[in-house]
Amino acid sequence: MTSGAVTALEVLDPGLLTLVEDLGRPGWAHVGVGRAGAADAAALRLANRLVANDEGAAGLEVLLGGLRVRAVGDVTVAIAGAPGPAWLDDRPVGRAAVLEIRSGTVLRLGPVTSGLRAYVAVRGGIDVPAVLGSRSTDQLAGVGPEPVRTGDVLAVGPAPRSWPVVDLAPLREPPSRVELPVVAGPHADWFEDVLAGLRAGEWHVTPATNRVAVRLTGPALTRTAAATGRELPSEGLVPGAVQVPPDGQPVVFGVDHPVTGGYPVVAVLRRYAHGRLAQVRPGDRVSFVRG
């Protein structure tokens, strides 16, 4: 490749929803803009490491698969996150592997076989303009790049100086039943032994689940007599906060969470499990465990 040559990914089909995400946009919560970033940050980091990018380079977050892109110029990519088949033209290729793609070749992600979100990192990163220091789409705040559309030509940034050092990364298959490790949140004492209640319950992921929050249904959590009817002035939120609105059904906030919330937060997901939360599907059963 000569210097100055354009490399890009031309979007033939974004699938259900494909977003540009990096590791997010810290520092703006006080003016109403949250962190956003890849929902499964560990998966984006892995894909970036494989192509020798900075771990925080912007990649594509692909909901349920279905993305088709054509290489404009030769590019190097890696796919991580939710498992599923992928092809270069008609040739099957592996996940979590370094894939060299010749100009004109089409990369296609089939439907994911478990989990929710696959990630495509490209050597050099997706080079859309940064907004407030990040290339992440925040679907709640409406900040950052628009969702990827058919016909978009996503520029690829300059390749980093280092080269990939491994061809692939071994991966465990995701567990069939997701465990969410939590610690007590600031308002745990508003509820009757709430951590035990969370651990004992059988929780299912509802269809009202997205990057903002994972909403669960199960046995309603009940407040103590003293906290019944108590109002909470809005407070800052974090990703992984487990909030219980008046119906007693927990909501676990994701990366596009509102910056503040007005219902008690009874528990907080451990950071190492944020990626698991990003991969639960509506209908999945999840359980809470001691974090």
Partner: protein, 213 residues
């Protein structure tokens, strides 16, 4: 000597603590103290986000740092007196007081529409905190005579620039959104623009006045 208004630091997961405070003035003071400390205090350099609210200040630290080690009590002890208030930036917003709820607010407050406008423009406001949407600022300082409840059912669409009141707060909607506050008028100012520095016109601590245009 024990400080009855001393902050209480509550653990909030791996990356944050929630500091509970007596009220808005204490939140403002500690929020300012932490922001100032981030410029020089190495212990504050790990703070990447601070989210003031009505009675709490959320402090988020960078990944891998331990939020339980934050010397919140030291920052609280070193906070400045609110005398610095006059040095804060002031924003003056020109408003067309032709909002759809002006007559209803006048009825609820037993004032005339002109008196509502006079009291809204007569007050001096401070941004207490943000939230709800990008660039939205909760302004305190509203004339108590103008305290009205939110609408029983929110409007599906509040136009950008709408100047509104609800409970003890006033605000300007930065962009069109569903909303339940009562609309007194409109202002032309751009409240939030990602290409401007700073992007939010109204930040926690900013003083605000409204004038009738």
């Amino acid at each position: 000597m024990t400080d009855a208004r001393a902050p209480r630091v509550v653990p909030y997961g791996d990356d944050a603590v929630l500091v509970e405070l007596a009220g808005l003035a204490e939140v403002r003071a500690l929020d300012d103290a932490v922001r100032a400390a981030r410029a020089w205090d190495p212990d504050a350099a790990v703070v990447v986000d601070q989210v003031p609210a009505a009675r709490t200040l959320l402090l988020r630290v960078r990944e891998g740092a331990d939020p339980r080690g934050l010397p919140v009590e030291r920052w609280w002890a070193g906070r400045s007196a609110p005398a610095a208030e006059a040095e804060r930036p002031e924003v003056v917003l020109a408003v067309d007081y032709d909002g759809p709820d002006l007559a209803e607010v006048a009825r609820l407050t037993r004032l005339t529409a002109d008196e509502v406008v006079a009291r809204h423009t007569g007050a001096r406001y401070t941004v207490a905190f943000g939230g709800f949407m990008a660039g939205f600022a909760y302004l305190v300082g509203l004339d108590p005579a103008l305290r009205v409840p939110r609408l029983d059912s929110p409007r599906e669409r509040v136009p950008a620039g709408s100047v509104a009141i609800a409970d003890e707060f006033s605000a300007v909607y930065p962009a069109a959104t569903p909303g339940g506050w009562r609309l007194l008028g409109r202002c032309e100012e751009t409240l939030f623009d990602v290409d401007r520095d700073p992007p939010a016109l109204l930040q926690p601590g900013t003083r605000v006045r409204f004038t009738s245009s």
